[in-house]
């Protein structure tokens, strides 16, 4: 275990980040970054959801438990939600999950929340860069609550 850590500290390490993007703003913003060929690190694995309000706190826990090094949740700017108030629902949940994760000892920078509109291709790239750097600086997810339950959920 110790050996592996030394190794990762020495060579440049690429985190793997689960990115939950809302369909109407942030996913569209990510598309726009592509159209503009704005380069950012290949660290995120995108999961498209209709609205940031769809994101169950379970997903964030599950992602971290499954070895993701970080999580990015991105929705519409406050007031711009396609569904009127979904991003406020997300924001409330996020505040809670943040404090829970801090409580169980997870580094704060691993889980990130942002607003990116469909027009902000550049901003999306900046967000991914920022998150990648912050998560990258923490090193691989040490699996604070990695549960060996065979991947079962409470469903």
């Amino acid at each position: 275990m110790g050996e592996i850590q030394v190794e990762t500290e020495n060579k440049k390490y690429d985190p793997k980040i689960a990115a939950f993007l809302c369909n109407w703003c942030s996913y569209a913003g990510a598309d726009l970054a592509g159209v503009g060929r704005i380069q950012y690190p290949p660290t995120i694995r995108t999961i498209r959801v209709p609205c940031s309000g769809r994101i169950n706190p379970l997903y964030i826990l599950k992602a971290m438990a499954n070895g993701a090094d970080g999580v990015l949740v991105s929705g519409c700017h406050p007031g711009d939600c396609h569904y009127i108030s979904g991003n406020y629902v997300a924001r409330r949940k996020f505040a809670l999950i943040k404090s829970l994760l801090t409580y169980v000892g997870l580094e704060e920078d691993r889980v990130n929340f942002s607003w990116v509109s469909a027009a902000e291709g550049g901003r999306f790239a900046e967000v991914v860069k920022g998150v990648s750097e912050r998560v990258g600086a923490l090193g691989p997810n040490k699996g604070v609550f990695k549960v060996d339950d065979g991947g079962a959920t409470d469903e």
Partner: protein, 1010 residues
Amino acid sequence: MSQNKIGSVLIVGAGIAGIQAALDLAESGYLVHLVEESSAIGGTMPMLDKTFPTNDCSMCILSPKLVECGRHLNIRTYTNSQVVKSEGEAGNFKVTIKQKARYIDLEKCTGCGACAEACPVKVDDEFNQGLGKRKAAFKQYSQAFPNAYGIDEKNCLYQTRGKAKGKDICLKCVKACQAGAIDHQMEDKEFEVEVGSMILNPGFKVFDASSLDYYGYGTIKSVITSLEFERLLSASGPFDGHLVRPFDQKEPQKIAWIQCVGSRNAKINHNYCSGVCCMYAIKEAVIAKEHSHIPVDTTIFYMDMRTPGKDFEKYYNNAKNNQGVNFIRSRVYEVTEAKDDSGDAVIRYSTEDGQICTDQFDLVVLSVGLEPGDSSKDLANMLDLKVNKYGFAELQPLSGVNTSKDGVFAAGAFSGPRDIPETVMQASAAAGAASALLSDERGTLVSEKEYPPELDVAGDVIRTGVFICHCGVNIGSVVNVPSVVEYAKTLPTVAYATDKIYACSQDAQASIKALISEQKLNRIVVSSCSPRTHEPLFQETLKEAGLNAHLFDMANIRDQCSWVHMHEPEKATEKAKDLTKLAIVRASMQQPVQPIFMAMNHAALVIGGGVAGMTSALSLADQGYEVHLVEKDKVLGGVARRFSTGFRGEDMKAFVADLIDQVSNHPNIKLHVGVGIKDVGGFLGSFTTTLENGEQIAHGVALLTIGGQEYKPHEYLYGQDQRIMTQIEMDEALYNHDSKVENAKNFVFIQCVGSRCDENPYCSRTCCTKSVKLALKVKKKNPKANIFVLYRDMRTYGYFEEDYEEARRIGIIFVRYSENAKPVVNKEGDTLVVTVTDHVLDRPLEIEADVICLAAAIKAPEDGRKLSKWFKIPLNADGFFLEAHMKLRPVDFSTDGVFMAGIAHSPKNMEEVITQAKAAAGRAGVALSKDQVESAGLNAFVNKRKCTACGTCEAVCSAKAVTVDLVNRVAVVNDALCKGCGACASSCRCGAISLRGCTNEQIVEMLNFL
């Protein structure tokens, strides 16, 4: 009018007006021919960065409409096209369209951009207002429809030099295009279409500021137009949204806007107000501040700040009081280049009190006005339409949309400057008018796509087919596509995987269809570009192959992978594999989702029998629908009964009497006059409304046109003296030849009574024009009368500027007062004395008045709250109805099937009320034309065994679609209302509620495979 009517409509101009009208008509059963002069639809909106007053991104709100319009089976879009000839009459026109060669085959072009990359010719990019460059092979903007390039024959090397001589010059685009879409031998063509009606919305052009040399545009580099500034702000603009000066890339720290450039200028025959520039200048100033990472000082030089639209005053106040935008009421004399070699510009101006000042700015933005486009003039000319002296189309009075020719309607800036919501409103109104004209022919020319019966996949072994796209070189040059294919083959459920050069091409669709049946595939994954643009295309293919459209997922390995990781091919390939894997996991767990159909009642209920309500009712009745018109008052007509003349001199009494006569005698209209409403229940397609007399009305849609109320002033001694009256009272007094006004000599009009104050912070929009009209009426009848208008900003927008100019010319005196020094009215004995501080002389002025006319505010209707509760619709802070979207859905509520028009939405004049009423009827007609109410079905659903009826889902649902059934103690989703956001599913404590197509199980499984 022709007896042989044709159920199709020609729409000229594919800006937001054309798109809205096309969608409304195509959705309600008419075939649409949409003619656009340029190579893509969209018009001016895609060029704008943000839109006021919500600061929504312009492109984001427009692009879903672009896609919808582009894909619609019953909209035939002709780009690079113009109407060259028209004959016939209302109901039956023969129109000849000329389409210029694009030199790129729309069927084959995939929009990959290889041609543009290869093209060696660089020219100024019109879309970026010449601030950037484009190639001769180009697409106007990245989200453009058609998503295809075109070749600009005026600049293409082959077209200009090679073709005529038969030499193979350049042709690099031909070599670069792997889809074989380029055809330099394409020719212009002419063809004829038959239509029953026409809607014209060719838009506008901005004023050419270089024609006014004192502003320095074209000679001073730091002087730019407002549209150029929009492109500077735009993230897709020439500097990727970095706010820099175009010529030296310096970040401006001090920016000025000069208003009324090419507007309110009688000398150059532009004696009208363009109506939009005050708001866009404020918006640009605010956005510039937000946008820049260094502090920016912004100043707007203006004559009158005209922000009379809904929520505009709030926006202005916020800019002034909270955002620190400087507003200087002034006259600008000239703009010169700074002498210090900084490239800056110096503005010389005089302030209100006559001081002459100069100030230096990094950047000066000219707020250029709107004028008729060149093609608008040609179009009006060819169709022999009446135009006004500025070249804008002249509409028939109080019609909102009718041109001088029967069956030909206008929308947008064709008939005068307009902002986006007014344009959209007028487009829906024009669509409604065309629909009413052709209602007998509805549904005769439209086609409906037929699909094979759906295969039952329940219980079948899951066999996923995976298609990885090269997108020419777009993906393939970065991502190792074959290795992704090999990897996909190793994943669970994958029965077949292959690559495609262009997965979206016609032949690829045919091949996917064939493979579905050959390989018995029952789930499909495509790894290519963005599902936002292409998911509908592939889902269409699935449906054609007999698979449910939802047995599908896409991985975005172009826009979100190869394009953004161009220099890291290995890592990009790893990412592409992972994204493909996630899509396979999701698709393998997808279940067929059936659209949900509900019954549609084809009757409409119109609440409120004023001009708005009667106009809506008539339009809907003419469209062939049964209409119930409810008016709580004992008579129809509303407040309009008290008006003598309209703003263009129309006889209002006759107009209202005629409307009442028409609604009373229309076979499709049932009147319920003198009765209020007791209760409302239901949703789109099946509302039930109970009247106070117990009668129940079943209806499919509702239109709320309940008007507003006149503010009863408690200031300026109103109510204490008969000679102090409101505008409506003065109008009545003049009409009745009341001796109080007949014998009066001194008239004082006081503006903004109960508007733009703490009690009612908004502007009531109509009062400036109304006062000017009343003052003109008095002055023309009695030239010796002394008339004073005490105002804060004269908001005579649009053509009303002409009246304001005339009023000043014939001696009506305008005195400006400030908000903090309002006029005072005193009664000395029997004499009324008005005291006001004159802004030029800066000393109090005393006027003995015989008549004082107060411009009383227009207030929100008192019944708004009741209706808000019944229909679950929101009100804004001022008590007016709040529309679904302030820009693009100006007559719809967020509640489906409920529409609004008239004063209840916000203060407006009669012409605007009529336009909006027709728009509401047009939008309601779209809903009513459907046989059934359909929803995609990607809705929330409840597992009754898990539900504890805690009510959390009900609390978070903004669509009000989830309710807890207290008898059975279980949450129930109303499929008609559910929008599919999933907030309930993520909030449920017991995992009882989930979302079709995006279940917890699916996402968790994806995370398990991360």
